[in-house]
């Protein structure tokens, strides 16, 4: 594994190794000196063409805690706003002698393209509506910390499937880890051609959220991406909440041992109510703290050893 562009880059052993190392990295978070020398002398650039709080800051902290030198470049305030092309931007940055590039871009496939252009290790931190593999890793990490090995577990993913890159990565990784996955969305937000896809990849889809909740070991709520909601996907936010929000009524359908995940940022009151977000079964804050540990593990596995 040279780059991490897709959750499909990981086989089961590699995924489990990354999750196991993440557990060791997690422990560093509680130390007084939060620093490991593993990536001393390595330089990692976070190149973000889209807004991000938690992904960018957790990659930055992860790199710094591993003693790498971390530089953040965002599209605003860089030469990108002067009209420089993606290729020129990344090759310019790479020419400074960096070892790793963490990239988020609004175009699906951009990180894979960048990996062809430069010698450094490339980590996909979210590309368009395609993938977000480190998010899938931290979701799997947080869920399995709470409910154990994911093999055979039933994970329900509900929300805006059409625009979500998180769901694609999660689906690939959860299948690799042996979980059973059901996707839930209103018909307008179910990706077209999902039937053929689900048959090939071995997961179920449904429009009926209530029917699948009692059997779920974990429920992952996806954010309704208001910035991409110009297409009239549902009549009103209220209607979405009634059909597909994790409401107080739906919480009662959920098994007491099931856990609730949300990749954030949340639209409280839209896809998830405060009752669900703040209750004991919710993993949402665990996911944020796991983000740093999982990204440390990913950077260590990609940059720590012999190249």
């Amino acid at each position: 594994m040279r780059h991490l562009l897709s959750a499909a880059d990981l086989d089961r052993d590699q995924a489990l190794t990354i999750l196991e190392t993440a557990a060791q990295m997690h422990e560093v978070q509680h130390r007084e000196v939060k620093k490991l020398p593993a990536l001393r002398g390595r330089t990692v650039v976070n190149l973000f063409f889209e807004d991000s709080t938690r992904t960018r800051s957790s990659f930055e902290i992860a790199g710094k805690w591993l003693s790498a030198d971390v530089i953040n470049i965002s599209a605003k305030g860089s030469s990108v706003s002067k009209g420089e092309s993606l290729r020129d931007t990344v090759t310019t940055v790479a020419a400074m002698g960096i070892d790793g590039m963490v990239i988020r871009h609004h175009a699906s496939g951009a990180p894979a393209q960048v990996a062809d252009w430069i010698d450094a290790v490339v980590v996909n931190a979210g590309d368009g509506t395609h993938e977000h593999p480190t998010q899938a890793l931290l979701d799997a990490y947080s869920i399995s910390r709470r409910i154990g090995d994911l093999a055979g577990k039933h994970v329900v993913i509900a929300g805006d499937l059409t625009h979500s890159r998180v769901v694609r990565s999660n689906l690939l990784l959860l299948k690799t880890l042996g979980a059973q996955v059901t996707l839930v969305a209103p018909p307008t937000l179910m990706p077209s051609g999902v039937a053929a896809w689900s048959e090939a990849a071995g997961f179920a889809t449904t429009y009926d959220f209530d029917a699948v909740l009692p059997d779920a070991d974990a429920v992952m709520m996806l954010r309704v991406q208001k910035e991409r909601m110009s297409g009239g996907y549902f009549p009103t936010p209220r209607e979405y909440t009634v059909g597909y929000g994790l409401t107080r009524q739906r919480l009662k359908l959920l098994s007491p041992n099931a856990v609730i995940a949300h990749p954030g940022p949340m639209n409280r009151g839209l896809e998830i109510t405060a009752d669900a977000a703040d209750e004991a079964r919710s993993l949402i804050l665990d996911q944020v703290s796991a983000g740093v540990a999982v990204r440390m593990s990913v950077l260590y596995h990609l940059l720590g050893g012999a190249q």
Partner: protein
């Protein structure tokens, strides 16, 4: 406090703590200390997964820490462990206990407690097996080809 270096050092530390409890009736806090991230050969080798670090809840500040490992060879693992300890706190003293000292030090490091001094050639490999990790207690010195058993 006993801190074992995973895997087999951690197993040995647990055994030592048990033996001390039996003989002296004293319970010694025991933990494990992973040094993977501190190794100086990290980027010369394929990636290895990190092993657990478990420090007793009281912390290592002002404690006498005895590092425990299976084989003392170049001394580089111990150097890494000393760096790792430096990040965890400031012990009153650090000592080193090893099951086998096979010589060939590359750093100014020595053990305070040695189970057995085992003169070896550089080309040989010393493999410690423990019941908990490997199903059998033995120390083997292996050439590239043949393997001979030393202490059952």
């Amino acid at each position: 406090m006993l801190l074992g270096i995973p895997r087999r050092g951690a197993t040995l530390a647990a055994r030592l703590a048990e033996a001390i409890a039996e003989v002296e009736g004293v319970h010694v806090p025991t933990g494990s200390l992973d040094v993977t991230m501190y190794r100086d050969d990290l980027r010369l080798q394929p990636i290895r997964a990190a092993a657990p670090t478990q420090i007793p809840p009281a912390g290592i500040d002002d404690a006498v820490v005895v590092l425990v490992d299976d084989v003392l060879f170049h001394g580089r693992t111990v150097r890494a462990a000393l760096d790792a300890i430096g990040d965890l706190g400031r012990p009153r003293a650090v000592r080193l206990a090893v099951l086998i000292d096979r010589g060939h030090r590359e750093l100014p490091i020595r053990a305070d407690h040695v189970g057995k001094n085992l003169p070896t050639a550089l080309s040989e490999r010393v493999q410690v097996s423990l019941v908990e990790d490997d199903g059998v207690d033995e120390v083997r010195i292996a050439d590239a080809a043949d393997a001979s058993e030393v202490t059952p």
